[in-house]
Symmetry: C2
Subunit: 157 residues, 2 copies
């Protein structure tokens, strides 16, 4: 069995794959000082198609978590915003030839996967697995899948 | 004192103002049946500018809640996705001449305000007041404000 150990999700570690959406770093004070706006934190790229918001409701998984499938969207970025304060698992890979990485959010983070980045399916660890997803709305399949010849098992770091 | 009583947020009641972002209605099963995708639920309109994701961290308010200011963004829609399971208050008005309305979310709902809709500032009712906001990213002010000659007070319905 090949194992992958979870890593804490940080903007620096995640930079090769996408953006971390969190209330960190620079902000503008708005609404008479009562709200911090951390401005424009995602590199959205949906090509010549529309950008839309969909709601995903996914079954919670548990660690250790076994998978053998990754996918990517060649035509657009894809952001996942948890509508809960639960941590979730983010599996990404530089390419099918590389060992995947498994990041664990801190409960106050979303992510935006850059266009074409290989990733695992949405894996909440607690119910409800409720997310707002900001991605490309179009008629093309915009999906490529890769199945590893073996199973990877994600274990808690 | 002029009071407004909160109403439950439903897609039908909110339709004149925007979209309710929730796991309701039609969906597509994806990820081998483990995820429901409620597809393309927001009428995003950011004109000729980019659509972006910002993170807002707002101070919680409490009911009864008094306000005298509403605002609108003439150049774009604005979606608020709570990153918690807390209810929040959504104040909207058809025009400055009309009595505002105050909707209370159910803890599993976001909203997308349509372009140009008058609304109150972001009013979470619990900490953390953490939201992902999908709106227009541009250089223009894109903001109009209106101050009522009197204060409105929102009370629990």
């Amino acid at each position: 069995m090949q194992t992958i150990t979870t890593e804490a999700l940080t903007a620096t570690a995640f930079a090769p794959f996408g953006d971390v959406l969190e209330a960190a770093g620079d902000f503008r004070l708005i609404n008479a000082g009562l709200c911090k706006r951390h401005h424009d934190r995602a590199r959205i790229d949906t090509g010549d198609a529309r950008t839309g918001i969909s709601i995903f409701n996914a079954e919670p998984r548990a660690l250790p978590y076994a998978f053998d499938l990754i996918e990517r969207h060649p035509e657009g970025s894809q952001a996942f915003v948890p509508m809960t304060e639960h941590r979730f698992l983010v599996i990404v890979a530089s390419s099918p030839a590389d060992t995947p990485r498994a990041f664990l959010t801190n409960g106050a983070q979303g992510i935006n996967l850059h266009r074409g980045i290989w990733h695992g399916v949405l894996t909440p660890l607690h119910a409800p697995g409720l997310f707002a997803v900001v991605d490309r709305i179009g008629d093309t399949p915009n999906l490529q899948e890769y199945r590893y010849p073996q199973t990877w098992t994600v274990i808690a770091g």
